[in-house]
Symmetry: C2
Subunit: 404 residues, 2 copies
């Protein structure tokens, strides 16, 4: 019998399923059985998008939904400049390339920084979707471990430097960090900047959670480091700070004009970002922080407290208090976090509800690491988080693969 279909490209066959999304069918199954699922697996806040964003959507003025500019609409890039200026960062619209979500900015940054087969250093655990973008453009992610005992702060300078080889082209950080919640100190950023200068590297900085910083701490953007102005590529997104994850509006920012020019060529191939969302995003960026972002951050700090305090009390669970973003990645006393997460959806409920987490192995590139960890996104109301944590605590007690 003739072969009925070709084999997938090896790299396509090797793609990992997102640990954030792969158990969605199991969650669907739980819901069909009438079980409420607390979705702490995905960074999807329950906070309503700004009224001004929704209003702009409903008032989109054009009768033709036409291609926008590949680099993003002028008004949106100007609004971005105004936004960054609030952080003391002066940019021109030509240093900003609007992208279809922060996702596309990461894809463009990886492609521009490294050739196929070259390396980008990342710190484990890292945002799992870096794996997908690296696979698409054929770049190797070289992982360096960070440890809960050190608050997931960066390794010492000599450790980072030892990882830099002839094929290394960039160091990528996520700050505040997804999934650890760590906010890097200025001395850590300076260390990276020095190494980038010494070894002629790019610094790719995912600063999507810039405002999500707690306990009165502050966040330093890599765009504020003048010594590496030509080396920094920031990837950003409106998804979290305006709770518009489904809008797919982000940007790539760099003072390296070659990066922006190459990114624009990639942007021309995909023609333009979604223009209706660009229009609404322009309105959202002009919102004074006190009207939307600040109260939301205060809400997330309270949520952080609820989750951290609950998890810290669970027997056998090791958790580090996150200082930013809205994630934490505890280690659980289970045989395999992936099995545990699945079991919580297929075999467990408490008062008609269960909690869905994202198994953390996919947030590591080193095989065997993170297999007992899972990421918690504290993106729901406090009262729901209380119940979700009760489900988690009880699930840990009942789980047959419990190890301690």
């Amino acid at each position: 019998m003739a072969k009925q279909k070709p084999t997938l490209s090896a790299r396509a066959a090797a793609l990992p399923a997102s640990p954030i999304r792969k158990f969605v069918p199991l969650a669907d199954g739980a819901k069909k059985r009438g079980v409420r699922v607390y979705h702490l697996n995905i960074g999807q806040p329950d906070v309503p998008s700004p009224e001004t964003f929704l209003k702009a959507l409903s008032e989109y003025p054009n009768k033709i939904i036409a291609y926008g500019r590949s680099e993003g609409e002028v008004a949106l890039r100007e609004a971005y400049c105004e936004y960054y200026r609030r952080f003391g960062i002066d940019l021109s619209p030509g240093e900003i390339l609007v992208t279809t979500g922060g996702s596309e900015a990461l894809l463009f940054a990886f492609f521009c920084a490294a050739a196929a087969g070259e390396e980008i250093i990342v710190f484990e655990p890292f945002y799992t979707n870096y794996n997908g973008f690296a696979a698409v453009v054929g770049v190797t992610l070289k992982p360096l471990a960070t440890e809960p005992g050190a608050g997931y702060h960066l390794p010492r300078r000599d450790v980072v430097e030892a990882a830099i080889g002839p094929r290394t082209r960039a160091i990528a950080i996520c700050n505040p960090n997804n999934p650890t919640g760590t906010v890097y100190r200025d001395d850590e950023l300076e260390m990276l900047a020095e190494l980038a200068r010494k070894h002629d590297l790019f610094i790719i900085a995912d600063e999507v959670y810039r405002e999500f910083v707690y306990d009165g701490q502050s966040h330093t953007s890599t765009l504020s480091l003048p010594a590496v102005a030509g080396r920094v590529v920031v990837t950003d997104s409106l998804s979290k700070r305006f709770s518009v994850c489904g809008a797919r509006v982000g940007c790539l920012v760099s003072r390296n004009e070659e990066v922006v020019a190459a990114g624009l060529k990639l942007g021309q191939a995909r023609l333009s970002p979604p223009v209706v969302e660009e229009f609404a995003a322009t309105a959202a960026l002009k919102l004074p922080p006190a009207e939307y972002v600040q109260p939301m951050i205060e809400k997330f700090e309270r949520r952080r407290n609820v989750v951290y305090e609950a998890v810290a009390e669970m027997p056998g669970v090791a958790v580090h208090k996150p200082a930013g973003a809205f994630y934490t990645v505890p280690a659980f006393p289970v045989d395999d976090a992936e099995k545990f997460v699945a079991w919580m959806l297929t075999d467990f409920e408490l008062d008609g509800a269960t909690t869905m987490l994202a198994p953390a192995a996919g947030f590591y590139a080193t095989p065997g690491r993170g297999t007992r960890e899972a990421r918690i996104a504290y993106v729901l109301e406090e009262s729901e988080l209380v119940h979700a944590m009760a489900c988690l605590a009880e699930g840990l007690k009942q789980y047959p693969g419990r190890t301690a």
Copy 2:
């Protein structure tokens, strides 16, 4: 002095600028001088988007613009099934992956079909943005010439077969064709199907212009070829048929479940398509063809006639009558079409207006081909096309680099 910035990755530095978009700054300059520019460089129709699409946008019901499903919203995939059924194509929602425009569907298809360094056969001239997507995923496009004298129909079977080598993984077609306007005959599709079976290849079919077929001809989808059901990957978009280019909603369709599963993993990395536009797209797909698409196609057939008849009368210009899509790619009596297109924007006007085309060299992969050709997109009202063609005719007379 220390180096201030790293060198771009070689592949980023080598990216071509889109021939459709690269002269936008010159067009901006012309407009600043008060010159009206007829944008025939880009496939952006002037037709208003359907009322039902605009209405849905303004009525998006959710207060949180949340991530959608990575595979696309259920309602949209069901609406796609209904849409394809009108063409006699039976699909299940699981065979449809919603993408951020047809662009993303092409990127996913290339990645899944071929590994880095493997080849996809394309027919020159081809949609220029294939170059960008091939560069991103490191795939080599292997060009085979089609000729205006043969109506840009496919080469003979033996010519195509001779191009298939050990690294060939797919044959990609665009049908109806951008930029030639050619609609492939059933015997051509059968020829490709036979070769795909014999040599175990994918067929990637860009069918964005499915409905844009004139002179009473019909279009056959590769999804209607049962012998290659497991080999066909169709890339599609709502951009043209509903004049919603800026919405960025398209899809990848395949009965090969491995392709859809791998595409979904890529989709999970980028999280979801833009959800507000997905909502509006669902409404548009349910429109009866007689209410929107059919009258639009009749309009484009009249536009085709206006442009074809005008260009055919221009001395020294060779043009083939396009049977579908809304492009034609004539050869002009000029030294270099790129210089001519630029000159029309910087040095020419007729009655306060000029015409912008897309130089065609970027629609070829073979160096030196297409250098005297430019693509015309007949996307404006007939009265405007008449004036745009008058500008083109006069520009050709005055252009200092005229060769015949």
